[in-house]
Amino acid sequence: MLDFVQQLVSGIALGCVYGLIALGFVLVYKATEVVNFAQGDLMMLGGFFAFTFIGMLGLNYWVGFAGAVICMALFGMLAERVVVRPILGYPQFSIIMATIGLGYFLRSVAGMIWGTDDFKIETPFSQGVLRIGSLVLAYDKLSVIAATIILCALLYLFFNRTTLGTAMRASSENMLAAYYMGIPVKRVVSIVWAISAAVATCAGVLLAPITFIHSNVGLVLGLKAFPAAVLGGFGSIPGAVVGGVLIGVIESMAGFYLPQGWKDVAPYIVLLAVLLLKPEGLFGLHVRKKV
């Protein structure tokens, strides 16, 4: 039983990271109908920025964290402007390829700048554990869970209570109609990318104590975030986080209870099952095509 709870908590912590990456996918997908295959690599880059600020320049953890988030938000806007905006409105496949290319580029450049070693960021909560009875929970895992909850609450308030959030929801419903209503759609999309890159950076920095940051981490984790997004229903913000947590728990349980090898495959088996049985996901909308 104790093992089960331990696995559950580490699964939820890992799942929160998947959820945060998936959240980035979903934000961009909802706003622009672009699926950003480079989302995991944005996360990786965010982790490296934080590492540079905290580990190499010796800044305070929170200052470095904020610096990385701001840098990556700007980078997200730049990526949108250079790679995505010129091809908005073209077939989805072209856009997918463009973001795959962007991911390739980011991975290799990060490898060239920071090398291919593993890096670790010292955090205020990388040491220490919380003991409840005989249950031992590491602070770094709890910090991921807490941060995910805070981020989701902030995003929820932002989307439902602010004018900018409403504008974003409007342009995600119908870009053309939003444009006619006087919403500056281009600027809105650019801000969505900034938010998505910032969320990815949070995921990267929080992840750093659990698995190390290296230049390929984005590919591995970014692809795991797809099952999360699909399970939650592509295009649903709470769905992304719930899906992420479920995938994390499934992976962690499969690693513990099933023979070796199932751990890596389990998320994809779940993904295929969801696609076959309930393609709209847990929270997705089912829309019929009109001819």
Partner: protein
């Protein structure tokens, strides 16, 4: 400019629309046939890879380019073909038998993937094929009694008609070339048959195709099976060329390379598969050349532009360090993909058509001829 006067349907679907095609392709074939006696062994080896990649490209083109079903899982089909060959070879099965068996088995697996894929569209299909490829990769790594796990399998030299065919020799190259040519001719024939027209109809509008009486599900599964089968044939040749296969060769990276092949070549014509394969395979020797020779060339240029010898030496060192940096190849790949998607969406073959049209219409060429239409209405979500 040549005007083709078509009087009946047979004229419209001819493989060679006019005699010029026969001469130019005949010339190309002749050049390819004498290539082993002219080119260095390294270039010959690259040419074999061009044939294999182009075969996969043609297979992928049927699915992605002509039926409109994106796949990022073709490395898995290649793996199935390669492993079938390696496994059957252990029991002294002759080459023609396991070659056909690999293609058939991969085709069946392709059809099995095609059935669930019927319900999926666009991005969901891409994600599903990625997952399929991951699962196959994991099976290859874990099913040790058949695949020998992560240790990989050795592939013995090919036995054909009682002789041993070396993987570096001209015979192996001719075999790969023959497979490629047969695949291309077969695919061209397929595409001008009712099946091929049904594929294109499904690509252009599934709803319209269905209302014209096309059994969309059947043709999608057919397209998956044919595409996978061709990739399986290529897998056998791939295994023989490398003479050693292991699961980590058939990763998502390879699937992306196959997509790059058709994307760079141009997704609307079989020419694209071949041009893309040439581009992708030949980029390696080009980068090696860049790595070895560019620092000297740039330093020389700097020296002639008036930089001092010490300065030029610095420049040479800096460029050499940059060129040999880890991951430069990946960065160049990334830039190439993005540049092609942004600026040359029709690929290399599209560029060739543009140049050809420019000279045919000489003063009257309009750039808008090849302009794509942008659609801002969110159609793909509600499909």
């Amino acid at each position: 400019m040549r005007f083709l006067f078509k009087t009946d349907y047979e004229d419209d679907i001819r493989l060679f629309p006019h005699s010029g095609y026969v001469y130019s392709y005949g010339l190309l074939l002749a050049v390819l046939l004498i290539a082993p006696y002219v080119l260095s062994s390294y270039l010959m080896s690259q040419l074999v890879f061009v044939c294999i990649y182009a075969t996969v490209g043609v297979g992928l083109m049927i699915l992605t380019g002509f039926t409109g079903q994106a796949s990022l899982g073709h490395a898995a089909f290649l793996a199935i073909g390669a492993y079938t060959a390696a496994y059957l070879q252990q029991f002294n099965v002759p080459f023609p038998v396991y070659f056909l068996a690999a293609g058939l088995l991969t085709g069946v697996v392709g059809a099995l993937v095609g059935f669930p894929a019927l319900r999926l569209q666009g991005i969901y299909l891409v994600i599903a094929t990625i997952s399929f490829a991951f699962i196959v990769e994991e099976i290859m790594a874990r099913w040790e009694s058949v695949t020998n796990g992560n240790e990989g399998m050795r592939v013995k030299a090919m036995q054909l008609l009682g002789t041993t065919v070396s993987r570096d020799g001209p015979t192996f190259y001719y075999l790969c070339l023959a497979v490629l040519v047969l695949t291309i001719v077969g695919t061209l024939n397929l595409l001008r048959s009712p099946t091929g027209r049904a594929f294109v109809a499904i690509r252009d509008s599934e709803t319209a195709a269905r209302s014209m009486g096309i059994n969309v599900a059947l043709y999608k599964v057919k397209s998956f099976a044919i595409s996978a089968g061709i990739t399986g044939f290529a897998g056998v040749l791939f295994a023989h060329k490398l003479s050693f296969i292991s699961p980590e060769m058939f990763t998502l990276q390879l699937s992306i390379e196959f997509i790059i092949v058709i994307l760079i070549g141009g997704t609307f014509s079989l020419h694209g598969a071949v041009l893309g394969a040439i581009f992708l395979v030949m980029i390696d020797p080009f980068l090696t050349y860049l790595k070895d020779d560019m620092p000297g060339v740039i330093a020389g240029a700097a020296a002639t532009l008036g930089a001092g010898s010490e300065r030029a030496g610095h420049i040479q060192d800096a460029v050499a360090a940059f060129a040999s940096a880890n991951g430069l190849k990946g960065a160049i790949y990334g830039v190439i993909i993005v540049v092609f998607v942004l600026f040359e969406p029709l690929g290399l073959y599209g560029r060739w058509l543009k140049i050809k049209l420019f000279f045919q219409l000489f003063p009257l060429y309009k750039r808008a001829t090849f302009k794509r239409q942008k659609i801002y209405v969110k159609s793909e979500r509600n499909r």
